[in-house]
């Protein structure tokens, strides 16, 4: 099934950051978002994930099909790696976490508390969470932050396997992962700075 985004305008804090974004993501394909800091990559991903409504435009094929990987990993410091992953697996109705542990070499760390992991190890556990969701569309926001070269290769391998299995992914990243992927530069879609369409409700706070 295809994810279709048409003429999307997204806002952050009531101010439009991107207008007229149109993209299409077929099964088995990946799309890499590029753009300078503040271009609206995170806002676009959060909108596609359904965490915030778009100001205008439509998103088709995202409902209950996306797994969102944000800057934060969604790990509980006082639970072990396997407890964290098993929890998310059960929330998404899946029970087997061995494949996810193996893909990111987390087997030796499975009984360590997530709070005692290094930043890169936490990131790996956070990325392993996407695998246990069994969702076809991955939305990844800067997935390689604090990963070393080996871990980046593990991640690229996991994305490749996901695409080969008929999944798809949108990644906002600045580094080259060596994936067969289209690139979408968000700079042309930047909203005019004075275009204050979305009246902010945050003036009251």
């Amino acid at each position: 099934m295809t994810l279709l985004v048409q003429n999307l305008t997204v806002a952050r804090g009531g101010v439009p950051v991107l207008t007229g974004v149109t993209l299409r993501l077929d099964a088995g394909k990946a799309l890499i978002l590029r753009g300078p800091n503040g271009a609206g990559k995170t806002t676009l991903l959060r909108t596609i994930a359904g965490l915030q409504p778009p100001l205008r435009g439509t998103i088709d094929g995202a409902e209950d099909r996306v797994a969102y990987g944000a800057h934060a990993d969604g790990l509980k410091a006082m639970l072990s790696v396997s407890e964290n992953l098993r929890f998310w697996a059960r929330v998404y109705g899946e029970h087997d976490i061995t494949a996810a542990l193996a893909a990111y070499a987390l087997e030796p760390l499975r009984d360590r508390l997530a709070g005692t992991l290094s930043a890169g190890q936490k990131r790996r556990a956070g990325l392993a969470r996407l695998m246990v969701t069994q969702r076809p569309v991955w939305l990844l926001d800067e997935p390689t932050v604090s990963l070393d070269t080996d871990a980046v290769a593990m991640f690229a391998g996991a994305v490749d396997a996901h695409l080969a299995g008929g999944g798809s992914a949108i990644l906002a990243t600045h580094i080259d992962l060596g994936l067969q992927a289209e690139t979408l530069d968000l700079t042309p879609y930047r909203a005019a700075p004075d275009a204050r369409h979305g009246a902010s409700d945050e003036a009251f706070l």
């Binding site: 959060r46 797994a67 944000a70 790990l75 006082m78 639970l79 059960r90 929330v91």
Partner: protein
């Protein structure tokens, strides 16, 4: 849903989870009251139901700011909001977990603390019943307040200011039921009102909390 309940209970029981914090606060508060009011046992017996209810309410309030703030900070709330379980259900389960770790221990401990305040013998049963029926409302109102203030840095004080007025009806009917029970009167009417309040909160507030949370996650 059950996975979420088990996770929240497990987190509450691990180090730093805050289990027992409310209970210890409740204990200290009831121990302090005789020091401040004086040792006249008749006076203490008169005010005991009200003090115990107020203590339970404040102990409940103490743990509310951790209810959603921790999940917000580590990104779990974003993932929960996009997960296949409905956000309303997830918040109701979080309220249930809060009640099991905070409200239920208070209910169990209240009779023991009633002894410290010289609660009349007839009042123990009704105190437990009123707390058992009233504390679920406290937890669910707390979830709503936490959803309103999630994402605000150091929102704990604001949360207390928002939630305390909403606790007033529960406190009035709960303390009145316990007082009438202790005085040997029929506590049925305040207990019915209290039960109605709790059931109303459980039925409606998950939806309100979910709407508030979706606004805050934007």
């Amino acid at each position: 849903m059950i996975a979420l309940l088990l996770r929240d209970l497990r987190l509450a029981l691990r180090a730093g989870g805050g289990f027992g914090l409310g209970l210890a606060f409740f204990l200290i508060l009831t121990v302090l009251v005789p020091f401040s009011v004086g040792p006249q046992s008749t006076l203490l017996g008169t005010i005991a139901p009200g003090i115990l209810w107020l203590g339970a309410l404040l102990a409940c309030l103490l743990s509310l700011d951790r209810l959603l703030a921790l999940d917000f900070e580590d990104g779990s709330l974003d993932v929960l909001a996009t997960a296949p379980i409905p956000l309303e259900g997830a918040l109701a389960v979080k309220g249930l977990a809060h009640w099991i770790t905070t409200g239920l221990p208070l209910v169990v401990a209240a009779p023991a603390l009633g002894v410290l305040l010289n609660l009349p013998g007839a009042g123990y049963g009704w105190l437990v019943v009123s707390l058992l029926l009233g504390t679920p409302a406290l937890s669910m109102i707390g979830v709503f307040g936490a959803a309103l203030t999630v994402g605000i840095k150091r929102g704990g004080l604001l949360l207390s200011l928002l939630v305390l007025p909403l606790y007033v009806p529960t406190l009035i009917f709960g303390a009145e039921a316990a007082r009438r029970g202790a005085a040997g009167l029929d506590p049925a009417t305040p207990l019915l009102m209290l039960t109605g309040l709790s059931l109303g909160c459980i039925a409606l507030l998950p939806f309100a909390a979910s709407a508030a949370l979706r606004m805050n996650l934007r």
